[in-house]
Assembly symmetry: C2
């Protein structure tokens, strides 16, 4: 049921039965390393290209989720998935091997929450009883596609972010499955916001206004205060974008500073070389939610979170043609039942 | 409600209230020219790049649909859209200006039916009362992205297809809107099928097995015979792909030859120079359904159609890395009420 301007209330509160994550070496050695399921010390993951490796990260995360639940791929009704690569090839080639009816998504770094929203809505409506949401990214495939070949060894400005290598996946099931796991209560799909930022090395600044718009709309639509949530978690605004988001909210007389967290700031040690403003990429929020935050929810250290993934919808071509960076943010409320 | 293996029955049968299409010069001068709403004689559409022109084709189609219904963009709940360009920039930049909550999709040439399926399911569940589905493609932006720069003037083999320039859009509304228009009864999202085709100039052959799989699954799931439909319409298999699809069905003892039609074969005069196997691209089925077939339904020359969009999920990078072409086909049953 739609409430307010753009939020949907999920009256059947589907459950997130299980999650799984697979990451590369930098993520494994970072502050959240102990939480990831699969940690690979090789960015190639035994494959011959970064693109194939990215696909394998997603495949491993999905296979591991199925293994945890003793499920086979035929039991899955639908999968919603996407990634950052041209023509979403990481997802396409991964899901080819799974034989699950597939909805391909492109929401840049917002893809994971876009997938979570749609799979939750599918289960809420009874369109399926086991629906997967998945997303991936890879530092090396993203660098050469969006920026410069790795061999170039270029330096980056402090506002730049470091694409997360890995994948995260979640399984949505109906509420009547007997297991105490977090449920989805609301989703707020975002509008595209573009404040005219043209600097591809400052995605945080480009995406923060979209996060602001979606968070404020969600709070209005649901008549909730920021404090309702134990955490309002953005995907990958990084240091720069986080500061802008908090200031935008403050100027609007909404203080989210005490509950705001950002996966991009938590996945890496921000003092480490080349991390600059923090992590980014579809896998940032996908892997961090599917490991650390899901566990925090299950162990009741967090009980109510608003997960907000932001995506920058430009391409190197559009930037080359003088365009600015349009961004979108999607939000999903995930809560423990009392 | 899910029925059979992968089909969903839409018990509230949402209505396709209106459609709109915008196309370029080659399409305007083709056999279906009289059916399109907006016909532009300039592939640049007054813009400075093909990419911006593609975005404008989608924008014009949407604006025209809103104009036909005397609606403003604020009245639209959600939009599902996508295109062929890297990072789906045609859709992103178009929808930036519309301020409608946005779900970005990537299904290659299957995108329009993917969008139609999701918007129908949204309306069926009451998540929105006015939901748009849209897709675009552009011959010139697709050529330089997937194949060779136009300036190269390369010849193509007879199995190659010609990307349609334009866009198609449809508005889904609840069944209780009083207007005699076609309704959506079933959707069958497809699995990814890959029969090992590696020839980027023969997409029809790569996509036909996916169409076969989805059509057969749909018929089984719904317990319908091909003859139930006045037309089973594929998106853009072209001559080559159509022949393969019909033969695959025949080998499976299912004869669709009398009801099968293909938008790629109908949008262009197949004897014209450089058309080769027919039209392709997201806009092929999007523009042909949103003009010709929608009118055929409204005027009851057709009463039951199965619209099947196929998409090839490779990228030039994956083909360069030796991969074959994975394909997907999504089907939606659209019917007049008796």
């Amino acid at each position: 049921m739609k409430i307010g301007k753009q939020t949907i209330k999920l009256k059947n509160t589907p459950k997130i039965l299980e999650t799984s994550s697979a990451v590369g070496p930098k993520e494994s050695n970072g502050p959240l390393g102990i939480y990831f399921d699969i940690k690979c010390s090789d960015v190639f993951y035994g494959e011959k290209s970064f693109e194939k490796a990215e696909s394998k990260f997603m495949k491993s995360a999905i296979d591991n989720l199925l293994y945890k639940l003793n499920l086979t791929n035929e039991k899955i009704d639908y999968i919603f998935a996407g990634d950052l690569l041209n023509q979403c090839i990481a997802s396409g080639y991964c899901i080819r091997d799974l034989q699950i009816p597939f909805f391909g998504l492109y929401g840049a770094c917002s893809t994971f929450v876009e997938a979570l929203m749609l799979s939750s809505l599918f289960v809420n409506s009874g369109y399926g009883t086991k629906v997967l949401a998945s997303a991936s990214s890879h530092f090396c495939s993203a660098e050469r596609q969006f920026r410069l070949p790795l061999e170039h060894g270029n330096q980056k400005p402090p506002t730049a972010q470091c694409t997360v290598t890995g994948s995260g996946v979640a399984l949505l099931v109906p509420h009547d499955i007997e297991k105490k796991v977090p449920v989805v209560t609301y989703v707020t799909p975002g509008k595209i916001i573009d404040m005219g930022i043209k600097d591809m090395s400052n995605m945080g600044a480009a995406m923060a206004p979209a996060a602001f718009d979606t968070i404020i709309t969600h709070l209005k639509d649901t008549e909730r205060k920021p404090e309702y949530y134990d955490a309002i978690i953005t995907g990958d605004l990084g240091k720069e974008g986080t500061d802008i988001l908090i200031e935008l909210c403050k100027n609007y007389s909404v203080d989210i500073s005490t509950v705001h967290r950002d996966c991009g700031k938590e996945i890496f040690d921000l003092n480490e070389r080349d991390i600059n403003s923090g992590g980014s990429g579809c896998a940032c929020i996908a892997a961090v939610f599917s490991s650390y935050f899901y566990q925090e929810l299950k162990e009741k250290r967090l009980n109510r979170i608003l997960l907000v993934a932001t995506g920058a919808l430009m391409s190197p071509i559009s930037i080359g043609q003088g365009e600015s960076i349009p961004s979108v943010a999607h939000a999903i409320a995930i809560e423990n039942e009392v």
